[in-house]
Structure formats: structure tokens, C-alpha cells
């Protein structure tokens, strides 16, 4: 099927039908998961917008029950970001697959999911109502209601009001059906908590349906650097990606110049190498006319060429120090150890960075958490499909006995793994599990083991110290009574002296 045919087919389907058919793939499967997906879309949009605008993000999230028995909830998300200019509101919130991030090779959270417009559609499909938007941008406050025209995939804006105002930011108020709030490991609360953990510069306030408010304070005032847009490396793309990029390129008349300008490390000599491998493919055609078969041949030829490794500049990990701060801020463990690995490459061309943080005891113990693994991709929490995920699988393969953590699942331990990359290899369109690429698995394993080695020393000395302290306390409590009785029994006189000697002996034996 040619590209043109695909586009035609797509238009013939109603957008609503497309959405319904692909609900699963878009993260709207299951009531609890759907609610998490909605929060994810709004919160990541806010974070990305603030990061681009260099604003320290402050997000308020509120979830209210409307009809609990019918699983209807109201969600309010408000941020202090740059807002959306009037002209862009419809496009950003009412048009599927039209986000600003599409086809940019940049490390952003919003790569996952379907964007806020998908949420608008979900709201319309489940409660039949438009979403309410308040956008404060350049001293102007715009209030309106946004919905989607299913036939044309065009946004509809109604009840628009425009005022002068100081409000800067975006507030979305929407109702949804077929969702459910639950304080579980997969729920909205956990999503927010983990988002706070992975984004130490974020202040997020959450009001749950019972009215309980929890504020996650930021642990740093330092915004992460604005992500650098880098050109895709030939090894990082498949035929699909190639087709999509080619489709939007109007600037280049020939494939050869398109390659050299739109990809990194693609020199004229590489174009020549490519020609040698696939002489039957005409690289003089316009990118717009590229077909599936050619795209397939080209990408498979890419893997036969020796490339200069891509630049890892586009990746911004959270950073060792900040993970540590954030860990203490959100989970307050007794010990925390963080490892940040150097950038590595998978599939021969895609750079990625693995960060691992391990927290033990303290607040983790108090919260009753045991052997918990928190997965992140570009700082976004992955809550679902843990089963097939490279992170979960790698951690399962660790021999905990080597680190004095025989019963990993019973220990008060939390392991945070964040994988940063411009292209995260997800196992499926649901984008909740990372595919077990050999290099990624190795990196996770090395990072976890490195962290374990360091924290193990702390844990075992702490355990021993605690054990000794326990013994010291256990014996010390009997010394007063014993000294008194022994003084009388031996008909000696100095009870305090006996006590002093015994206490110093206990100190010697069990440490002070």
C-alpha cells in the first residue's frame, strides 16, 4: 500500500471510530488505567511546556467523583506554564495526532500516548461533554469549551470569553466516564507520586476524591536543560519512521539530499555506500513518493553500513544528585544510593542513559513498601505491563543473596530505574513496557549491581549496628535492677559503681 493510499484510507474512517478501535493501544483499557492515562497526558503536557518556557512547574490536580456507581469523575489539572495562545487552543486540545512533538527527534515525555486531544475525545465518547479550558497567555485569559468534530477531525470551540488577566498557565476541567480512582500501585495517586520523584523541580498538589490533599514539594529549583533537538541517526529508525518523516518533508526534491540534511552522520560517502548496497532503489525520487517496499529496503541497508555513533547530546537524564534529593524528599529512606551510567547505544545507533536509585529503610519501611520497583522512561512513570518490561525482567534476574538481600520482596527497598533516550523501544503501542534490547538489559543490570554493591555495605553495617544497638538496649535495661540486687546480695555498698562498670562493659562489647 502506498503512502497516499494509506492517508486516503485514514480519512475515510471517522476519527471516533479510529479512536474506538485503537482504544487499547492508546492507553484506554481498564478503568484505573484510563484515569492514569488522562493524568499522564495533561501532566506531561504541562511539564514539557514549562520546560520549554523555562518555568519552574507547579501543577494542581484534583479528582472528584460525580457518579461513583457509574464510574464518572471530574478531573481538574492546572499548571503555571506559558498557557496556549488563542490560535493554538483548538489544535492542541481538539485535534488528534497534531501535537507539536510529532516527528521531532527530541527527548520529551509526550512521545507517549495520544495527547490531550485524545482525552477530549474520550470525554466526549464517555460523557458527551466538551472540556473546559482556561488559558492564561501574555496577560490575556481565554476561557472556552473544546470538543472534536468526529467527521472532520477538526476542533470545535464554543462559549469563548477573553479577558485581561494576570493568570498565566493552563487549566483544564473535564469529565470522564469509564474511569475509576483507586489508591493502588497502578492508580492516579501512585502516578503522581512517581512523577514527583522523577521530576525533582516539580511541585505538585493532589486532591483526591475524599478531599485529602497531598503536596509533593520540589527538591530543587533547578530546571533541567531544554532538550536539544537532534537529527535522527539512520540506525534508530524503521521503515515506518522513515515513511512518516519523508511524508512531511517538502523541502528536498531528492532522497539523497533528504538523507544528508535530515539525518545525523549521513555524509555523501554514506549515500554512495547505500547506493552500492541497494542499486535497484532510485534515490533520486522525491521523498514524498517513497513507498513501503523502498523504505524497508533502505532501513535494512542502513544496518549493513558502518556509522559514526550518534551524539548523546539530546539526552538529559535526571542526574545522580537530583535523584538522591528527590528520593529523600518523596520517600525519605534511611539510605539512598544512585548510579548514573554513561550514555550507551542500542540497535547500533540509538543512545540511551540508564539511571538507578536504590532506597532502603526509613520512610520506605514506615510506608510498608517492600521490594518495589519503580520504572520510568524519560521521567514518565511506567505503571502497567510490568511483566514483559526489560526493567522488571532484569531486576528479577539479580542474585540478591550476593547483596545480603536474600528476601528482596520482603526488604524495605525501592529501586528506581529511569531510562532516557530520544527513542525508547517500547514493547507495544501501549508504551508501558520497555523491550528487552540486549544493550539496555546489560546496562540496567550493571547499574543495579553497581548501586547494590555500594548500598549493601551501608545496609549490612546498618543492620549490624542495629542488631548491636538492640542487644545493648536489651541488656542495659536490666542493669539498674541487677546492680541494686547484687549490691544488697553481696552486702557491698556501691551500687552506682557496679552499674558504671557494667555499663562500660556493655558499651565495649556491643559498641556505643
Amino acid at each position: 500500500m502506498s503512502n497516499g493510499e494509506m492517508a486516503k484510507n485514514f480519512k475515510e474512517h471517522s476519527v471516533a471510530e479510529f479512536f474506538k478501535k485503537n482504544k487499547q493501544m492508546l492507553g484506554f483499557s481498564g478503568k484505573i488505567r484510563s484515569l492514569t492515562t488522562i493524568l499522564h497526558e495533561y501532566i506531561t503536557n504541562s511539564l514539557d511546556a514549562c520546560q520549554e518556557a523555562k518555568i519552574l512547574p507547579e501543577i494542581y490536580v484534583e479528582i472528584n467523583e460525580i457518579e461513583k456507581e457509574n464510574d464518572k469523575y471530574q478531573i481538574i489539572v492546572e499548571d503555571n506554564g506559558p498557557g496556549i495562545p488563542k490560535s493554538h487552543i483548538g489544535k492542541a486540545l481538539g485535534m488528534m495526532l497534531s501535537g507539536t512533538k510529532f516527528h521531532r527527534f527530541i527527548q520529551q515525555r509526550g512521545q507517549q500516548g495520544i495527547g490531550a486531544a485524545g482525552c477530549t475525545m474520550f470525554s466526549m465518547l464517555t460523557v458527551g461533554k466538551p472540556i473546559k479550558v482556561v488559558s492564561g497567555h501574555n496577560k490575556k485569559t481565554i476561557e472556552c469549551e473544546v470538543s472534536v468534530d468526529f467527521k472532520t477531525n477538526k476542533p470545535i470551540i464554543e462559549n469563548e470569553k477573553e479577558n485581561e488577566g494576570e493568570f498565566e498557565g493552563l487549566k483544564i476541567e473535564a469529565q470522564f466516564g469509564e474511569v475509576k480512582y483507586e489508591k493502588s500501585n497502578y492508580g492516579a495517586y501512585e502516578y503522581i507520586r512517581r512523577t514527583a520523584l522523577a521530576n525533582p523541580y516539580l511541585k505538585i498538589t493532589f486532591k483526591d476524591p475524599s478531599g485529602q490533599i497531598e503536596i509533593f514539594q520540589r527538591s530543587t529549583e533547578l530546571l533541567p536543560p531544554k532538550p536539544v533537538e537532534i537529527l535522527p541517526h539512520p540506525l534508530g529508525i524503521g521503515p515506518h519512521d522513515l515513511l512518516e518523516i519523508a511524508k512531511v518533508e517538502k523541502k528536498y526534491t531528492k532522497m539523497s539530499s533528504f538523507f544528508q540534511n535530515r539525518f545525523s552522520r549521513f555524509s555523501a560517502s554514506k549515500v554512495a555506500e547505500l547506493k552500492e548496497i541497494i542499486p535497484d532503489v532510485d534515490l533520486n525520487i522525491s521523498p514524498e513518493k517513497l513507498g513501503w517496499q523502498e523504505a524497508e529496503k533502505i532501513t535494512s541497508a542502513f544496518s549493513k553500513i558502518k556509522w559514526i555513533a550518534p551524539s548523546p547530546d539530546g539526552i538529559t537524564p535526571i542526574g545522580q544528585e537530583l535523584i538522591e534529593k528527590s528520593f529523600i524528599n518523596v520517600l525519605n529512606p534511611e539510605m539512598v544510593e544512585v548510579t548514573e551510567r554513561k550514555p550507551k547505544i542500542y540497535r547500533g545507533g540509538i543512545p540511551f542513559i540508564v539511571e538507578v536509585g536504590i532506597g532502603y529503610g526509613g520512610g520506605i519501611e514506615a510506608a510498608g513498601k517492600k521490594g518495589e520497583v519503580m520504572r520510568f522512561a524519560n521521567r514518565s512513570p511506567l505503571l502497567f505491563d510490568a511483566g514483559g518490561c526489560a526493567i522488571t525482567e532484569t531486576i528479577k534476574s539479580i542474585d540478591w543473596k550476593r547483596y545480603d538481600l536474600k528476601n528482596f520482596e520482603e526488604e524495605p527497598i525501592v529501586i528506581v530505574v529511569n531510562i532516557s533516550s530520544v527513542h525508547i523501544p517500547y514493547t507495544s503501542a501501549g508504551k508501558q513496557a520497555i523491550s528487552p534490547e540486549e544493550e539496555i538489559v546489560d546496562e540496567i543490570k550493571n547499574a543495579v549491581m553497581e548501586t547494590c554493591r555500594t548500598i549493601q555495605k551501608h545496609i549490612s553495617s546498618k543492620k549490624k549496628e542495629r542488631e548491636m544497638e538492640g542487644k545493648r538496649k536489651a541488656i542495659s535495661r536490666y542493669i539498674g535492677q541487677f546492680s541494686k540486687d547484687l549490691t544488697e546480695l553481696s552486702e557491698s555498698s556501691d551500687s552506682e559503681k557496679i552499674k558504671e562498670i557494667l555499663e562500660s562493659m556493655i558499651g565495649e562489647k556491643y559498641g556505643e
Binding site: 536489651a474 535495661r477 541487677f482 547484687l486 546480695l489 552486702e491
Partner: protein
């Protein structure tokens, strides 16, 4: 030796007091030399209980347990042991007595306002440690002024001087009427035999039979000391029997013809497992068993109709007794016990009154005269 109240105290008490003080002094020196205080006590578990053939009673073996204050798993019991030692030392100093329950309440107090722990939480803890102290210091709890429940009763030609609570009384065993003299918890401290003119001691298991024989003035006719332990003999009664044997009197025991009755006999004779740590002081190996025996049932026709079916517990106890070397070394007893297992029968001592009430006395007299006893 006088205590702090200025009262003269007995030899056993004096030994006890001295040993308590020595225990304290030993620990005090250990502390001054910066050593963890230690306490040794013989193991009282079954594996350390042996029958001692030369003294013919149950005794503890050589195995010892060594406890030290600075060992976490022992520190609490260590403190408790010393607390008991000190408390009983006070009892001796003040010349006051109490029960082991009284002692427990004396020591059941909080270790401190900030500590959610008492010196003793339950009586089981202090009971076991009292036995440890007795075994370790080789003294009886009665010497520490700890009283036990009285149970046995005595009558007969004996006079005992009882110095107690500042008074001195002479107990005349012949003037106790129908009730008899209740054997005290401690028959050593403050107690002494003035005059023992009896020919022998007769111990009958049941109070009912004792009353029957008392009414017949059996002790007067036979010039004997008539005791009933009212079942299993209490510490005081066992000690009393031992002391009477020490005074040169033969001891005869008369119980039901069943495993329980025989067990009462063997406890008097060799001591019990539970009190093995006290050894010969609570055992009377010289004791002889008069009856009722399985052979009596064969000998007296009227008894054959009065037997009862042995219960499971009787059979089990008989089997156990056959396994004890101090019982199975007597072939007479092996025969008796095997008869029980074979016939599955037993008979109560009361059955001897079946023909006429006074038969019991004659039966006993005949047995003693004809030396018809079991070892």
C-alpha cells in the same frame, strides 16, 4: 548464727544464707575484675537425670548450664535469678516466710517508668528460677523461707518441737484426735524431734483409710507413726518420711494396687524426676511396699470380685515403670507390673474393708510380721 532480727537461725538456713551471700560476693568480684558475672546451675532436663545406684535415688548428672549477664539471651533471667536470691536473703534476714506465689508478687514490679517491662511477668518465670537456685546452691527452697502447700497428715508416738513466729510449741503426735497433725511445709528449720518411740512408719495412700486406722487406734496398738500423703506426697511429707527413716524407723508404704498407687510409692522411695535436683534429701530408699499387690488378689478370694478394670492411663504408667531401671532391677516388681498388663485389672486399698472394717489392720500386721513386702 543470728539473723538481723537477732533470732537464732537453724543450720540449714545458715548454710542457705551463707551460700546466697557467697553467690553475691562471687559476682561482685567478677564485676570488679570487669568480667561478665556468671551463674552455674545443673541442667534439670530429663537427659541429665540419672538413677544413682549407690544412693538408690534419682539425682542430677554432671551437665551444667553456665549463664552470664552480658549475653543477650540470658540477661533477663540472670537479673531475675539475682533478684530472687536477694529477696530470699531478705526473708531470711527478717525471719519471714512466704509461698512461691508470694515471692512472685514481691518481685512483680516495673523495671522503670520508661520501660514497658516488669521484673517478672508471670509466676512460671520465678518458679523455674527458684529451682535453678536450689539446684545451684544445693539448698532447699524451704531453707530460703519459701513455703509449700501442706497436704500430709500424721499421728503416732512422736513429739516435735516447733519454734515458730517467736513461740515454741511441743507437738504430741498422740494427741491429735481424729484430725491428726498436718505435716508442715518445712520440717527442718525450727523443727526438731524430741522423742521418737515408734517401731515403724506406715504410709497409707488415702486419707479415708488413714481415718479408719486412726479410729482403730492402729498406731497405738502397733506403736507406729501413721502417715497419709493424701495421694502423691508433698515436699514436706517426703522430707518428713526421710527424717523418720534417718531416726532409724523402718518405713512401710500401703497404696492402691494400681499404677498410680505404685508411682506414689516410688516417688517416696527414689524421689521424683521433678525434684531429682534435691536428691537424697527427699528420697527414702529404705521404704518397703506392703500392698496392695496383684498376688493379694490371688491370695484373698473375696478380693477377686472387687477388682476394677484398669484404665488406659494405668496401663501406660505400668509400661513406663517397666522401663525405669530402678524399678525393673527388682524382679518382684516386674512380675507385678506384668500381671497388671496381662489381667488389665486393678484394686483399691479400700477394698480390703470389703469383708469387715477391721480387716485392713490385720492385713498390715500380718504383712509386716511375715515380711511379705516388695522392695
Amino acid at each position: 548464727m543470728v539473723n538481723k532480727m537477732g533470732k537464732k537461725i537453724d543450720i540449714d538456713e545458715e548454710t542457705a544464707l551463707q551460700r546466697l551471700k557467697n553467690l553475691g560476693k562471687k559476682m561482685y568480684i567478677e564485676v570488679l575484675s570487669r568480667e561478665s558475672p556468671t551463674f552455674n546451675t545443673p541442667l534439670r532436663s530429663k537427659s541429665n537425670i540419672n538413677y544413682d545406684a549407690s544412693s538408690e535415688c534419682l539425682k542430677l548428672g554432671e551437665k551444667e548450664e553456665r549463664r552470664t549477664l552480658l549475653n543477650v539471651s540470658q540477661s533477663r533471667t540472670f537479673m531475675q535469678t539475682v533478684a530472687i536470691a536477694n529477696k530470699t536473703k531478705k526473708f531470711l534476714d527478717e525471719n519471714l516466710h512466704t509461698s512461691i506465689r508470694g515471692l512472685y508478687y514481691q518481685l512483680k514490679f516495673s523495671l522503670g517508668e520508661d520501660l514497658d517491662e516488669s521484673l517478672f511477668e508471670e509466676q512460671g518465670e520465678s518458679n523455674a528460677l527458684i529451682e535453678d537456685l536450689e539446684a545451684s546452691l544445693k539448698i532447699k527452697r524451704e531453707d530460703l523461707h519459701l513455703t509449700t502447700d501442706r497436704k500430709g497428715v500424721l499421728a503416732g508416738p512422736i513429739k516435735i518441737r516447733d519454734v515458730f513466729a517467736g513461740d515454741e510449741n511441743i507437738i504430741d503426735g498422740e494427741k491429735q484426735g481424729r484430725s491428726g497433725w498436718m505435716i508442715t511445709s518445712d520440717v527442718d528449720n525450727g523443727m526438731s524431734f524430741l522423742d521418737v518411740r515408734a517401731n515403724y512408719v506406715l504410709v497409707v495412700e488415702k486419707d479415708a483409710l488413714w481415718q479408719r486406722l486412726n479410729e482403730d487406734k492402729f498406731w497405738k496398738k502397733e506403736n507406729c507413726i501413721l502417715i497419709t500423703p493424701k495421694g502423691q506426697a508433698s515436699r514436706g511429707t517426703r522430707r518428713m518420711i526421710r527424717k523418720l527413716a534417718d531416726a532409724g524407723l523402718p518405713v512401710y508404704v500401703f497404696t492402691d494396687c494400681d499404677a498410680w498407687g505404685w508411682y506414689i510409692y516410688w516417688t517416696i522411695k527414689t524421689g521424683s524426676m521433678n525434684l531429682a535436683y534435691l536428691g537424697r534429701a527427699f528420697a527414702t530408699p529404705e521404704a518397703r511396699f506392703l500392698g496392695v499387690t496383684m498376688s493379694d488378689i490371688e491370695k484373698f478370694e473375696f478380693l477377686q470380685k472387687l477388682t476394677i478394670k484398669a484404665k488406659d492411663i494405668d496401663i501406660k504408667r505400668a509400661e513406663e515403670m517397666l522401663g525405669y531401671e530402678w524399678i525393673s532391677k527388682h524382679k518382684e516388681w516386674v512380675i507385678e507390673l506384668k500381671k497388671v498388663l496381662k489381667t488389665g485389672k486393678k484394686i483399691e486399698q479400700d477394698a480390703l474393708q470389703g469383708q469387715r472394717l477391721t480387716f485392713v489392720g490385720e492385713y498390715i500386721q500380718d504383712k509386716i510380721k511375715n515380711k511379705e513386702w516388695l522392695p
